[in-house]
């Protein structure tokens, strides 16, 4: 079965951890992930600048590793990311900001990517909505 996974909560929220564990379980169970889409405060999980204490779970790092190893389509909403200061080098340059912090495993794009993923997947699972 094909799953689209949407995350709306920040990396320190329990639902962000559940989203990652669910995504890992999807692949472990022999299913496919059509796309990961991070929106609202979920965009912070795409930041390369999240620093957690050494003895705590570094969720952003785990996401990066997961997306890279599994070669997943990981999309972060560009409008939500800009609003929260998660910038690719192109966006940092475009908006004259001093640094980029989007991890290279992610792509910034629009909400059309969420709709497309929901249409292509058999199931859409959302984490961290209200």
């Amino acid at each position: 079965m094909k799953f689209a996974i949407a995350l709306f909560a920040p990396p320190h929220a329990p639902s962000a951890r559940r989203a990652l564990r669910f995504a890992q379980a999807v692949l472990a169970g022999g299913h496919e992930i059509t796309r990961l889409f991070f929106y609202q405060d979920g965009v912070h999980s795409g930041s390369h600048n999240v620093v957690t204490p050494q003895d705590e779970l570094d969720l952003s790092a785990e996401w990066r590793e997961f997306v890279r190893e599994q070669q997943l389509d990981g999309v972060i909403c560009i409008a939500a990311a800009l609003r929260r200061g998660v910038l690719s080098s192109e966006e940092a340059e475009r908006h004259s900001r001093p640094a980029a912090n989007l991890a290279p495993d992610w792509e910034l794009s629009g909400l059309g990517q969420l709709h497309e993923a929901m249409q292509l997947a058999d199931r859409t699972i959302c984490f961290g909505g209200h």
Binding site: A6, Y39, Q40, G112, H115, M118, T124, C126
Partner: protein, 119 residues
């Protein structure tokens, strides 16, 4: 056939970008001609009140964006009657043409859509 989406908006317009970001999902879906509906539930019904003064909070008015929904082909608009009543919002004076739903209407609505996002 395209999967249908019900978007449930539960945030007050002044509570941060949540209400606007929920609306943006609907507008983006409308632009792709996807079958979708929007339900205003809990504090989300406060988006529907008239004569809001967001400038007092240095915020932009969401009302004009909400009114763009029908232009984007999103005409299935619903509000929870109980949420309006609990917050003292006059259901006869809303800024969008929404259909009011009671508990039975809400559960029937949820059954009708393939996908549900709650924000």
């Amino acid at each position: 056939m395209a999967k249908s989406l019900l978007l449930i908006s539960r945030q007050a317009p002044w509570s941060g970008p949540g209400a606007r970001e929920a609306l943006d999902i609907a507008l983006a879906g409308g632009a792709f001609d996807l079958p979708l509906a929007m339900l205003f539930l809990d504090d989300g019904v406060l988006q529907l009140t008239q004569a809001q003064q967001p400038a007092q909070l240095q915020q932009k008015d969401l009302t004009a964006n909400l009114q763009a929904l029908p232009m984007f082909g999103v005409e299935a608009l619903y509000a929870c009657n109980r949420s309006l009543f609990e917050r003292g919002v006059d259901s006869g004076a809303l800024n969008l043409p929404v259909e009011l739903l009671d508990e039975h209407g809400l559960s029937a609505l949820l059954q009708r859509y393939d996908l549900v996002i709650t924000l």
